[in-house]
């Protein structure tokens, strides 16, 4: 799986936002705030990957156990999928 192309990610006022552009903006209105591990998960989803591989990336950055990281990834990924923002 990977994120649909067409999002622009920028820091605005010290927060990180992903904003839909071009044709994606016609389907998906609004913007996504990326906080904490959300930034790394989003970054990882820029290319084809798996939940497992993303969890490995988080464990390399954060001092958390695998269960917590896996739960974070699962929650984030399922929200993206619900919004129709994942390919594959």
């Amino acid at each position: 799986m990977r994120i649909v192309p067409g999002f622009v990610v920028r820091d605005v006022g010290g927060k990180t936002f992903a904003v839909a552009t071009g044709t994606i903006a016609k389907k998906f209105h609004g913007m996504i705030t990326l906080a904490g591990s959300g930034k790394e998960i989003w970054e990882a989803l820029q290319e084809e990957t798996t939940e497992e591989a993303i969890v490995d990336k988080l464990l390399a950055v954060y001092d958390v156990d695998r269960e917590t990281a896996a739960a974070d990834v699962k929650r984030f990924v399922s929200e993206l999928r619900k919004a129709g923002l994942l390919l594959g």
Binding site: V8, R10, V12, G13, G14, F17, V19, M31, T33
Partner: protein, 237 residues
């Protein structure tokens, strides 16, 4: 073709209806446009489809005007400028922008500033001013033809000192906001539906704006004291 001058830019507009032409009158110029937008039939239909509630008597001319604003908004970030959804006044030459969902009482609040401070207060624009950074880094707010239902606008530009998020309150109180607190509400008042390059530029300008102006949340009553509360926080007693 209509040609208007705003914020140091000359903009050409190809359109058919007199509605927009009338509103552009205070801004008309005969200089050579920096860029031109053309409003098509399809854009007008698109605008109708997007519109939720629209004022009574909204006709093709009205929607053509909105289409032109949208088309211009897409071009502005390339010039370091953007369209901001807010009502802007100036107090002794310095601008304050008020944003709120429609029906909150923006117009009432601005009326209170005029009543409290009379000649010290002037309208810049009632609905969609253009904001642009000057070469010296000052962010200025400029009146535009898109002035809201009161038609409040002037062909002026003033340094923008503050943005105030307005909400109704039982009493008047004002608190400063951090750029992080204000980021999302500010982004909601800026057109972000565009190509990646334009959106990237708009977000960079928004980030710059958040550190260039003071930010506040004002809970206000509909009476004149609300303007005094806001003015004292922004400009001192």
């Amino acid at each position: 073709m209509l040609i208007i001058g705003i914020a140091g830019l000359v903009i050409g507009i190809e359109c058919r209806h007199t509605y927009l032409e009338k509103r552009c009158a205070p801004f008309q110029t005969d200089k050579k446009p920096d860029f031109t937008v053309t409003v098509t039939r399809e854009m007008i239909e698109d605008e109708k489809a997007k519109s939720g509630e629209c004022p009574a008597g909204a006709d093709d001319g009205y929607f053509e005007s909105l289409s032109a604003a949208r088309a211009i908004a897409h071009r502005l970030p390339a010039y370091g400028a953007f369209l901001f959804h807010a009502a802007v006044i100036e107090y002794r030459g310095e601008a304050v922008g008020f944003t709120a969902p429609s029906g909150t009482g923006k117009s009432t609040h601005i009326g209170n500033w005029k009543r409290a401070f009379r000649g010290d207060v002037g309208i810049v624009n009632g609905d969609k001013p253009i904001l642009r950074f000057s070469p010296d880094g000052t962010l200025c707010a400029y009146g535009s033809p898109w002035a809201g239902k009161e038609g409040w606008t002037r062909n002026v530009g003033c340094p923008l000192k503050a943005i105030v998020f307005l909400e109704r309150g039982k009493e008047n109180s004002i608190v400063p906001l951090s750029p992080a607190d204000a980021a999302l509400p500010v982004m909601n008042q800026i057109l972000l539906e565009s190509d990646p390059e334009t959106v990237g530029k708009t977000l960079a300008l928004t980030d710059r704006m958040l550190s260039a102006v003071k930010l506040y949340r004002l809970a206000c009553t509909p009476d004149v004291a609300s303007a005094v509360t806001a003015k004292e926080a922004i400009f001192g007693k």
